[in-house]
Symmetry: C2
Subunit: 127 residues, 2 copies
């Protein structure tokens, strides 16, 4: 829980109407985490991202990239060649999210085994 | 993108069928982030959590706490008094998530203004 506030107006995602709350969902969404991670420091084509984030649908990849572009976190460049070459890369703002999504990813990988064990214990106890 | 792997079997959330992928959604869910943050180092009653996480529905709070209990991240204690007193606190495993959710929360608060500006620019350009 972040208690100090800097700047005005103070943002507090614990407050019902704080607009920062909606950002929480965005940051932690699985596709956002994986696409941000797959972009990393590189410039990637759509088809490369589709390959790196195994199993993501075209629709979901398109939607997530568009949302990230609207957020100013991803920059989309269309190269005027035939056929057009479309590339994506993180903006400076987007790169600032990389350390966050990286921590989310590392935590999930490191703690998955303990959580899978906890599920078995819980389900035996409840079931 | 986490490229090294430690231990076996290697978990890789970029792979379609890796079970760690589903954990990503969980960690970044807005209610998980806020409830983990509201618990922090303390023991809390259901009603306290409902007050701290302003606007969360009883149903969503119950569901999220139950999922976190199943994950082994939250411990639920029922004190045999009349009426029963039910308390929640983070397990050691749950406390390890606190640094992750705290970073998600801080990033959202710090970057919300830039993202809101980016939305305005994008919507003017596209609209």
């Amino acid at each position: 829980m972040v208690t100090e506030s800097r700047g005005a107006p103070a943002l507090n995602p614990y407050a019902r109407d704080c607009p920062s709350r909606s950002l929480l969902d965005r940051i932690g969404d699985r596709w956002t985490v994986l696409i941000i991670g797959a972009l990393g420091q590189d410039t990637r084509r759509f088809s490369e991202l589709a390959r790196l984030v195994d199993g993501v649908s075209q629709k979901m990849l398109t939607q997530t990239l568009r949302a990230l572009e609207r957020d100013g976190l991803v920059e989309r460049t269309v190269h005027p060649v035939v056929p057009p070459r479309v590339e994506y890369r993180l903006t400076d703002e987007g790169r600032s999210l990389l350390s966050v999504t990286d921590l989310v990813e590392r935590w999930a990988v490191a703690h998955y085994p303990a959580i899978a064990e906890a599920h078995e214990r819980y389900d035996q106890r409840i079931g």
